[in-house]
Amino acid sequence: MTAPALLGDAPARIASVGVAAFADVPRTAGADVTHLDWRPPAGGDPDLAWKLAELTGHARVERANEEAVARLLGVRPVWRDVRTARDCLPVLDDRATGERVLLHAGPPVDWADMCGPMRAGVIGAALLEGWADTPEQAQRLADQGALRFEPCHHHEAVGPMGGITSPSMPVLVVEDPGTGRRSYANLNEGAGRCLRYGALGDDVMDRLRWMADVLAPALREALRARTDGVDLRAVTAQALQMGDECHSRNTAASALLLRELAAPLARTAHGPDVLEFLAGNHYWFLNFSMAASKLATSAAHGVPHSTLVTAFARNGVEVGIRVSGLGDAWFTAPAAHVEGLYFAGYGPQDANPDIGDSAITETNGLGGFSLAAAPAITGFVGGTVDLALRTSRDMARITLARHEAYRLPALGGIGAPVGIDLRAVLDTGIEPVVTTGIAHREPGIGQIGAGLVHAPLECFRGALAAFPVPA
């Protein structure tokens, strides 16, 4: 780097931080002065602020982040298959392990600490697997420690809301052809009474069984006709042009995906039923968006000295992040409250705190980061289109790159901001924005609204405290 000359270099451009009146002094001589809207970094902890400065512009960190971003952007997510969970996720292979394991959303959480909707998911899964005949029996199994729980994220999987994934559930398989790397997500049940929101009942169980017995084989058969699978990156890129941000709004993406497989699906045994189910599910693409995002951010994980955030996930009690250069550790904070709109008859007092792995889409530049693409959903927060544009602009202030494929038409076609930088979040105090659904806090009821939530600064402070300054 060539340092700018201090003397003899007119006109001077100056950044002023601190006392506003001092910015006026060089202005009297015609200097171009920007006075920053500064606030104490890292939430006001001077030691963390100093550490943050030491990581700023650090050659090894910069190189590591370039590498992590390149890996993230290099992933081409392709939908390859639909399989039974136990067949592709070794941790769920009860035939081999003899264990009853369930995957859940967010950072690790024990049965005793789980929130209502997630407990309902556990009970529903135990019933589905035939481990129990009644909800009471299922609860007893969990109380006795007969069930083991693992985060989806620990197994290259992701699940919306409660995220409970059990051995017999079908999962979609997304692959990066370049590396052979794979990620997984369960299938979306649609709107209304769903297990992922903690709804229980025969209707919920019947649908899950139908998804395993009818939907999954039909999808599998339809996919077989497509030797190259379905390019999810292309679907996402198109959907962003059509009003989706691919987290809370998946209307366009779901339609595009349905179109890709409609003809072969129509030829399968239960074609009309399958098509009817998919036609009625505006959220169908969400789980694809999540799996594709997990695939991309996983590729960016594990680069030594990289400050790129590779996961943000919530279990309904705690939220947590993972950082590329910090290994498998989670940095957590109490789950935040979602600001949003509620279905008739419900209000904030009914809401469970923030829950689900779906915020993985934000770490991949979608959701709140691409809010500019989805003016239709700004109403969730009583917001305006301007707010949506500003949100995407603000998210660019805390990210390392622009996504080369995911472009935002309302911002002149610029790429979606991607690659949350731990340092930038703590330096600006701008918390990542997440668009998300709201679950009822009691087990068995389900979704009651949707809105916006921020990833709390506290997670990022914890990660910075743990981050070693490279030599």
């Binding site: 007119a10 931080v17 506003a20 001092f22 002094v25 400065a53 700023t56 930038a424 105090g429």
Partner: protein
């Protein structure tokens, strides 16, 4: 909402309540907070209002003043803490008024709606310099970020840990950048002033200083003598200490030596570490142009070459003028003055260098009275007092006395009413960055007491007639209030010393050794 009725005659007055309100993540700088607190204090029914960032030292100060409640104690350093005492009704009004007071105007020329950068890492890549005046615990971090982004740094903040200063300056040197400060009061780069700076005529002298007010005094004296300033680089008060080792001074020397417009380099510092002074003087000897080094009160043998060593600010300016072929100002003689009843000097400086200079003539004077606690009665000791009220002890959590006169006004009131006072000395520093009328809060205190009932007050004004406050107008106001004027800090210190003790030959030689050893 039902309002509590006002107290009416015949009823006991309403009980004063203490209230803390916390605004999360709502940073405002100390000057903005002080201004807002001033407005709130003026509201009827409000006894006290204090707005601070909720750092541990600030919370301690509030607790000492009985203004901290449990709500305030829970606030974190990034939170804004509003502490109020007054009637319930007044407190409601005060809380409602806070937001409007803290709203910042959009600076001219900036597009509304475009986000203002929050962090240095967000600034336009063409930015060449960062001007940093955030609270001390965060200042070095901001400066390090500036350097890492390729910006030179001017750090006004004090209260910066010494190890961070060393790190900062090592990093600057490594990157080929200049770190001015921390605790850097002034600079003038190609005519662009930073920090506190006077309106100076352009010229051919390059100044380097570990002393902000010292640089201002010398540059104003040069200006008065018809010489102009080409560049002025502040280094921070500790730069010539043993730990920092003159890192910025040496880097600044390289810059000025290479600047063809600089005909002479003038260096000023409080007493430096002897080994560091030797290193700096060794560099000065190799300079391609004459050098005047003013090491206040420290005897250093002239190192040879075209280097002159002097020990006072006045001598520094006079020598530079003479070396460049001009005529220094003639010596000044103090008029006869009737001292106050007591035996003691009370010198209350905003400029640390002036305090250093004065201590050379009265080394036994007390240098600190401990931290200032608002509302607590100040007691002056039974001895000479020479205070640097811009020192960290007095500025933790509040602005420099050149911006905020509160602390100095309280000391001045105590000095004027203390029967032990023989003479009071004040500095008045003008220029960009200083208040619009720095004399006013001083004369307001002085004029409380009839001229015959108070000890004499000696003052000197550091400024030029082109400064926003106009040095001549400020001097006239001081004279009108009965204040005695000295032309320079050096003359003021000598005058005051003469009033408290007969002049000795040794001191005389110290204050007049004006570069006679070149």
């Amino acid at each position: 909402m039902e309002r509590t009725p006002h107290a009416t005659p015949g009823q006991p007055p309403e009980q004063a309540r203490t209230l803390n309100v916390v605004r999360s993540d709502a940073y405002a700088d100390s000057v903005a907070l002080m201004r807002a607190a001033g407005h709130l204090t003026d509201l009827p029914g409000v006894e006290t209002a204090s707005l601070v960032m909720a750092t541990a030292p600030n919370k301690r100060l509030l607790a000492d003043a009985g203004l901290l409640t449990a709500d305030g104690d829970r606030a974190r350093p990034a939170d804004l803490l509003i502490a109020l005492r007054g009637s319930a009704d007044a407190l409601d009004r005060a809380v409602a008024a806070v937001d409007g007071l803290l709203d910042q105007d959009v600076p001219p020329g900036e597009e509304p709606g475009a986000p203002v950068p929050r962090a240095l890492t967000e600034t336009d890549p063409a930015t060449g310099l960062a001007l940093i005046s955030v609270p001390g615990p965060y200042a070095a971090a901001e400066a390090l970020k500036a350097l890492r982004r390729g910006l030179h740094a001017f750090v006004f903040s004090d209260n910066v840990p010494l190890d961070q200063e060393v790190r900062l300056k090592e990093e600057a040197h490594r990157l080929g950048l200049l770190a001015m400060g921390p605790d850097c009061g002034t600079a003038l780069l190609d005519g662009v002033p930073l920090g506190f700076a006077n309106a100076l005529r352009p010229g051919r002298i390059g100044l380097i200083g570990a002393s902000g007010t010292g640089l201002q005094q010398i540059s104003c004296l040069l200006d008065a003598a018809g010489e102009g300033v080409r560049q002025m680089i502040g280094t921070g008060g500790r730069d010539l200490g043993a730990e920092v080792g003159g890192r910025t001074t040496l880097d600044a020397f390289e810059l000025l030596d290479a600047d063809p417009g600089c005909a002479l380099i003038l260096l000023v510092s409080k007493p430096p570490d002897p080994r560091v002074a030797a290193r700096v003087l060794a560099r000065a000897v190799r300079a391609e142009k004459p050098v005047v080094a003013a090491f206040l009160g420290a005897d250093h043998p002239a190192p040879g070459g075209s280097v002159t060593v002097v020990t006072t600010l006045r001598a520094a300016a006079d020598t530079a003028v003479r070396v460049l072929g001009g005529t220094p100002t003639p010596p000044w003689t103090a008029p006869h003055t009737e001292p106050g009843p007591g035996p003691f000097l009370r010198a209350l400086y905003a400029g640390g260098t002036f305090a250093y200079e004065a201590r050379q003539v009265l080394p036994a004077a007390a240098e600190t009275l401990g931290p200032f606690v608002p509302g607590r009665q100040l007691a002056l000791p039974e001895r000479h007092v020479i205070l640097d009220l811009g020192d960290d002890t007095y500025t933790a959590g509040r602005p420099h006395p050149m911006i905020d006169p509160t602390v100095r006004a309280a000391h001045l009131r105590a000095a004027l009413t203390d029967p032990g006072t023989r003479v009071v000395v004040l500095d008045v520093v003008l220029g960009h960055g200083a208040g619009p009328d720095p004399v006013a809060p001083l004369t307001a205190e002085i004029e409380r007491i009839p001229v015959r009932e108070r000890p004499p007050v000696i003052a000197f004004v550091v400024g030029t007639d082109r400064d926003p406050q106009d040095a001549r107008a400020q001097r006239d106001l001081l004279t009108a209030a009965g204040v005695l004027l000295a032309p320079t800090s050096t003359d003021a210190a000598r005058w005051a010393a003469d009033l408290v003790a007969p002049r000795t030959a040794a001191r005389e030689s110290r204050l007049t050794a004006a570069g006679g050893r070149s």
